[in-house]
Symmetry: C2
Subunit: 317 residues, 2 copies
């Protein structure tokens, strides 16, 4: 049977037709239209799904189910989105599944976008074949998802597993969420850029100044690329960033004991350069690592498709 997977982002809605081998047969991407009202945005999401099916030559009625990943806090059981600040003026306590179910002819399942990503990677990507997986998506923020005993772990009312907002440094750096010291406040790309700027201010001769000038901005690449070329200030930034991240991952391993940890998002493009450092650091930050060992940290491999595939299979986890 075919399944529909939809990944709703702040900018684009991506919808894909997914087969039973977890392959995306066809996908479409349409603008989210962030200023549309709730009802209009829900209609856009439904239409994106219908479009994907039609373009692939199918009728949605032939599908076994549709899964939709939303960037926000939601309860998968009730289908209520409690908070999605990036969707059309901010969704709050909207009965999303109920609303969209009226527009689609197949059973609809909903999930958090980071949770969809870990489902996709576990079924078809870098964590394939594992029963226990933790995934962090490092981007503007830090998203997280957990598979435990083959099931998606979502916490009470589906509102847990907000791994980006676990504490890393009590009373530490301010986080966009309003708390202090969250993992996200140290390990997001946004945080890395702040750390990069700070080091550049300290070292006016750092190669990062030249690199940023050529690139036209300071971004998540600045410190990493200059570190590869041996720039001391950049190496300092990368070393510290990797320690923060390894410490956060260590705490997640202590809590969830995954068989594998995945890193997704923009920063995962640093590939072995990042993964090797993290894997070398991890044992320092895991409880009883000498007795139980530590899981490998791997790069997620499906990119944006993870969310689409995972959404399509939400009913299975």
């Amino acid at each position: 049977m075919l399944r529909l997977g939809v990944d709703v982002g702040g900018t684009f809605i991506k919808a894909g037709v997914v087969d039973e081998n977890y392959t995306i047969l066809h996908k479409v991407s349409v603008p989210t239209e962030g200023d549309a009202g709730y009802e209009d945005l829900v209609r856009n999401i439904a239409r994106a799904g219908e479009l994907a099916a039609r373009e692939a030559g199918f009728d949605l009625k032939e599908f076994s189910s549709a899964g939709i990943g939303i960037p926000g806090l939601l309860n998968p059981k009730t289908g209520v989105v409690v908070l999605a600040p990036n969707l059309s003026g901010g969704w709050r306590d909207v009965p999303f599944r109920e609303t969209i179910q009226k527009l689609l002819p197949v059973p609809v399942y909903v999930g958090n976008d980071a949770n969809c990503a870990v489902v996709g990677e576990t079924l078809a990507g870098a964590a394939k074949g594992n029963e226990n997986v933790v995934m962090l998506t490092l981007g503007t923020g830090v998203g997280g998802g957990v598979i435990t005993d083959g099931k998606l772990f979502v916490g009470g009312r589906g509102l847990g597993a907000e791994l980006g907002h676990m504490v890393l440094q009590m009373e530490g750096a301010p986080c966009a969420c309003g708390l202090n010291g969250c993992l996200e406040a140290y390990c997001s790309v946004t945080a890395l850029v702040k750390q990069t700027r700070r080091a550049m201010e300290l070292d006016l001769r750092s190669a990062m100044h030249e690199y940023a000038k050529e690139a036209g901005l300071v971004d998540g690449r600045t410190a990493f690329e200059c570190s590869k070329r041996g720039d001391k200030a950049a190496m300092f930034v990368v070393e510290n960033y990797c320690r923060y991240l390894a410490n956060g991952i260590g705490s997640l391993v202590t809590t969830f004991r995954p068989d594998v940890v995945l890193i997704g998002g923009g920063l995962s493009n640093q590939r072995e350069y990042l993964m090797d450092k993290l894997n070398a650091l991890l044992p320092r930050y895991v409880f009883a690592a000498d007795v139980i060992g530590v899981p490998p940290i791997l790069r997620a491999t499906l990119g944006n498709d993870a969310g689409t595939i995972g959404a399509a299979y939400l009913d299975q986890v």
Copy 2:
């Protein structure tokens, strides 16, 4: 049907006959004999169970199951205890369930002691009727247990949920486990005593000196009792300790979204004095607290019986 629950500690083995209303009909406590070899200690555990049944007027054969809580890392599925440093010279990778199953006439289940405590409190104690519970036991160390969706959460291979060793302060205070900055390194009674001593060294006129002299020692009560009497240095210790603990609990709430958080162990004897402070602080440390709210922090009510009752019902969670 009756069930046997056994709580194995470093000093005593407590065994209880538990009925279907979660009532302990009879219990016995025998010395663990920490210097006995593995086989001897397992025999002691089995005998404690038989003794409890016999003294209550039953034959173990009439029981539906036996559950045994162990202070260590173990895999409930395989029954292998990976690490239990406080049992007879340190157990490591012992096939505990297999060994004890040969000595007992009913199916045996095994669990971590802190996990048994949260099961007991959820079935019959302070968290009764809740589907999502986090419990911290504050003693020499910090033990933790999680119930999610009515099931015991144990992580991959049963080795997760080591809540005392989640990070609270990256590169922070050294922990007995060898890591730095663990929740336990700030929130155990051992940590509180260190914090108390430090404040006493700073304030030679603090009432804590007199209190400790009369008590004959500095312990987990010193700062709390003197804080209640208005001693500034003691209030400072208690205020900081509560912030550490509330921050740790906040991170656990963000991760697990429990309906209720329980505090057990010696420090829970501070009752409302501690719980009121923690409940007041908690919203500061929970992700999206203004939208989702925060759970109440309550004192565990079953004391040592929680472990026995929970062990007896390990097969049900």
